[in-house]
Subunit: 409 residues, 2 copies
Amino acid sequence: MMPGHRLTLSKRAASMPASPIRRLAPLAEAARKAGRTVYALNIGQPDIATPQVILDRLRAYHDGCVPYGPSQGLPEFIEALRTYYSGLGLALDAGQIFVTTGGSEAIQFALGAICDPGDQVIVFEPFYTNYNGFAAMTGVVPVPVPARAEDGYHLPGRKEIEAKVGPRTRAILICSPGNPTGTVYTDAEIETLAAICRERGLYLIADEVYREFVYDGRKHRSVLTLPGLEQQVVVVDSVSKRYSLCGARVGNIVSRNRALMDALLRFGQARLCPPTLGQFACTALTEVPAGYIPGVIAEYQRRRDVVHEALAGVPGMVARKPEGAFYSCARLPVDDANAFAEFMLRDFQLDGETVAVAPLDGFYATPGLGKDEVRIAYVIEEPKLRRAMRVIIAALAAYPGRVPAAARG
Amino acid sequence: MMPGHRLTLSKRAASMPASPIRRLAPLAEAARKAGRTVYALNIGQPDIATPQVILDRLRAYHDGCVPYGPSQGLPEFIEALRTYYSGLGLALDAGQIFVTTGGSEAIQFALGAICDPGDQVIVFEPFYTNYNGFAAMTGVVPVPVPARAEDGYHLPGRKEIEAKVGPRTRAILICSPGNPTGTVYTDAEIETLAAICRERGLYLIADEVYREFVYDGRKHRSVLTLPGLEQQVVVVDSVSKRYSLCGARVGNIVSRNRALMDALLRFGQARLCPPTLGQFACTALTEVPAGYIPGVIAEYQRRRDVVHEALAGVPGMVARKPEGAFYSCARLPVDDANAFAEFMLRDFQLDGETVAVAPLDGFYATPGLGKDEVRIAYVIEEPKLRRAMRVIIAALAAYPGRVPAAARG
């Protein structure tokens, strides 16, 4: 063989980050194998039961094979989504909905249709870590604008945001209710973003997959309601969190921009179609009982309270009460949140139990930020969640790299 | 609003081709709405029944929700795949199998892990049209080496192939049994490709999703059997065609290159996981009766004969007998295969029936090639297939752009 200099992988592969959510999976696996119970608060994997009508529909699958569907999604599922949006006061045509393989593909397609390699997208950090992965895959450059834990991760002022708009800026990408922050942007914040996008000719890409999960009587403002921004707004959506269907890999994009929808169709044709089985099951979503979503919201709000009350009692901890989604971000009194997360899985147990959390540095684009922060997903039932929080607090006390409260800035 | 110069889409979106397989879907839909029967020979959507054990497994889905699985695939499904490969004489570790969202994602991930934007991959044209789409999405440049209809689309000589290897060449990408050609590369051809890859330090990416479908007693040679090429071989696979599960979106990559598998895992983590429901159903593939695949092969071979006999009788037609897969490529005596395909859907019927085929120009990278060629997928049952072939032949006689046999080169 000639010098195997070509037998490397791509720079893209080298730059592709490991998921901070899933990176600790082998340690969690080892802890489980060693007989410990591991509460998985690292991944946004809801445990709440999927509506029975959806599972029943799946089990009634009657075709003799599982054929490709249309690249833009099954018409029956698109109709079900139209009914769902209509219930939110959003009137949409079938041609304004494009079904994707989960919210993941929706983000990737939206970025790919709007940006070329080297183009920039403004994000507010901490942001959903996989935006980094999609950016690496599409060559898009995330330009972070820091949001502060002390402000509950709400947006900085308009000038701070506009200072980041440059000649290669193509879009602002938001997630509200926020993953990982649990922050719900106010009407005023959404309108500020809209004004910037309107004036600077940017797309506003909004990941709204947690839209139902807002607490304490808050209301979620969809960017689809923004007047005069119809051509610039792109909504990323998914049934994953709403109905505990993460593994179905069924998401969608909403846009009123016909050229964009046409590009999505061509992207979609290359991968043929989104999963037929998940879409088929979700044709039943119009029959989900009216009480289902309010019940889920009440459950998550109770869990949010359990997490918040536990964290609030720890000296040196910074953790605002989340307003939505099912995540809490916390600044821990530790030297290194990665080391602490590994410590919990490898070296710690309380009555045979331990916890997996997601270190937050991978949710930042600015190097050095998030080193002492973690994301906690409250996706297990209350009694277990209480035990998990006890484990975290005991682990903090036992962790050798604990930083005294007085030593922190 | 400021000058909306930014409100364009990306060059990537502009360069993304419409699928020649799905481009004619609106015309076919219109024909159906007008009451005509349309035989869909344009898309490789098998009609053969999925093994009952797989559908039964799906209907027995018992979880209360549909959770994310591991990014590399469900362990139970990976085990089932190991058993499947073992039956082919291929001993694989679980860590050498990475489950993807269909063969589509497998190709995209393989290209993404090996190539940076601007890197080149050698393909033999006509090739699976969606390679163009994946290339546009990943910025990879397909470098075509023409294969000729008159040679049954077998490989050109080694020198012709090597002449295309340049400093940015990273891989050779093949599909055998071939989509769209139906060509099955011989042992000698596979070994020639292996020798080139070995000597020039290239990856050999082989799309083997049709491996079972070889006719007239031929044997398929998997690139996984090539000695000394373990680090360079990447196999793209899928359950879609084998078990008529196209809509399940379950494929996989096989590679013995650990660095590559590690990169795939990081790519996979960004999109979380492949579809859980399709994988769950496919855990039953070890229980598929032994007679299932031979029965499918026999059925496709009979259909292949129906198509070939029909085409062989048309003056001015060039159509070799396909050796595998379920496609036939044909050079038609027409001025423009796209116009002819549209003519069949828009302007033609025989006893209320017409046919959709895939024009072949979109399966070439060299401009101008394939203008008079089509791909016919024999994925409907024999009596219908006979009628569809009658339609095509009658349409050729009625088509205004027919080229007299004597006028062709």
